[in-house]
Structures are given as C-alpha cells and as structure tokens.
Symmetry: none
Subunit: 123 residues, 2 copies
Amino acid sequence: MVEQHPAQLDAVFHALADATRRHMLRSLATHEHSIGELAAPFHMSFAGASKHVKVLERAGLVRRTVQGRTHLCRLEAQALAEAHEWMRYYEKFWNNRLDALEALLRAGDQAPKPSPSQKGKKP
Amino acid sequence: MVEQHPAQLDAVFHALADATRRHMLRSLATHEHSIGELAAPFHMSFAGASKHVKVLERAGLVRRTVQGRTHLCRLEAQALAEAHEWMRYYEKFWNNRLDALEALLRAGDQAPKPSPSQKGKKP
DNA sequence: GACTTATTAAACCAAACGGTTGACAAATTC
DNA sequence: GAATTTGTCAACCGTTTGGTTTAATAAGTC
C-alpha cells in the first residue's frame, strides 16, 4: 500500500514527462549515443541536451561512460521496470473492465456476479 | 517509433510524478472520493487538493461528477493503460537482459561486441 | 604549443509547479 | 433568511523547469 521508493518514482515519472527525453530513450534503445548525437535531432544546444541527460541519469534511466572526450550514454531500463510495476497495480481497472472490477470490489461479500449484457464482452 | 499522443503522455507522466497525486490515485482505486476526502490525509488546503485533482483530470486519470455541493472523483484507468503500453516497449531491456538485448543490438551491425574489459585503445 | 571537438558549469530568463491565503458562489442546514 | 459546508478562482510566494548564452575544461589533432 505504501510506495517503496517514492523519490525514485518521482524522478522516473518526471523524466518521462517530457517528449524530448522520451525520444532520447527511444534512440538509446537501439544503441548507445553521445550527448551530441542525442542533441542533434532536436536542433537544441549541447548544454540543453546535457541537462536532459542529467535528468535521465538522476532517474537511473541512463548510465554514462566517459570515453575520451565523448560521453557515451546507455539505456538503463531497470528503473523503468519499477515504474511499470507501479502501474501494473491499476491493470485490473482497465483490463477486465466491469466484471473483474466488480468482483474485486465485492471481494468482501459473496454475492454472485450479475451477468452483464451491455459491454459487449465475449465468453 | 513516433508517439501517437505525446501531449497525453506528457500529462499522464507529469501527473504521476508527484507522490501526493499517486496517493490520491491509490485512494480512488478502492472507491470514489470527494475533494475534501482526498485532501484530508495530507493536511492540505482544499484549494491545494483541488489543483492536484485538476492535474489528474487533465491527464484523463480522474473523472468528476458534481453531486450537490460535493465533487465526486472517480479513477479513470484507461489513461494509465496508454502510458503502461508506452513503457512496455522497453520491457525486453529489463526482462531478457543480455541475450535478447545483444541479439537486438547486433541486428543491424555485424561488428562483434568487445568484451567489457576496457575501452582504452591508445598506447 | 595552437587549434578543434565534446562536454560541463554558471548565469540568466520566462514559464510552470506546489503550496498558501482570501474572496466568492452554490448547496445544505438551521 | 442566516450560517455552514464544499469547492473554485485569483493572486501571491518561493522553487524548479526547460531553454539559452557565454565561459571554462578536457581530450584529440595539427
């Protein structure tokens, strides 16, 4: 019921709440990139991209290895897994819409489920 | 590769990037709540809670029905599903860690991956 | 050593955030 | 009708954000 790592979740969700950073993650999914390469698609200054990467790093989504004068960034998806897991708690609310939800809410009492006929569910 | 609803994702992730709002969602998962009920656990002003709820509403995570003078808020999980789906793309990076990942990375280029010994090539 | 490249640091800016207070409006209760 | 409850709105405050520009640093290159 209580979150284990609220600050971590804060950081991850905040990092994801920006289209530029999400795009960077997509790029990093295929292979590593330097800061400059990450900045390029957005006609954004180096410093701007550097800040975004730092946000991703703080969230644990990216790890950097300095190699000579270039900083190579690599996706670190484990942090995403935690946020994903957090969301999974709500899966029941969008998956089995009414049936399972009602069943869940009725968990306390044993009343049989009234057969719904309006949501176009398939057997 | 291109996101379908970037603004929607922005709103959802931003809404989730706050522990207070995440807690509100948890409360709403069990049953509906008024603004005042949502505010109570945080010894926060009505206006403060009202702002948070508005953020959740804008993200499509909460729907409100005015009933007399009280505003009843209900969880709307479908918006979460979309964000969840976005993250699912990265599942392969934390599930089958190295095998599938390396296979994926080698898909395009045939260069053998050097062992993670050291990068220093200069004498 | 001088130049170029890749990146950070620092200072700045306008906008947004999270929160408050005070004034107001609509239901409800007395 | 007056008071209370439930909530919004607008203004404010201090902090953070996303971005810039201008140095400054560190590593290759000539």
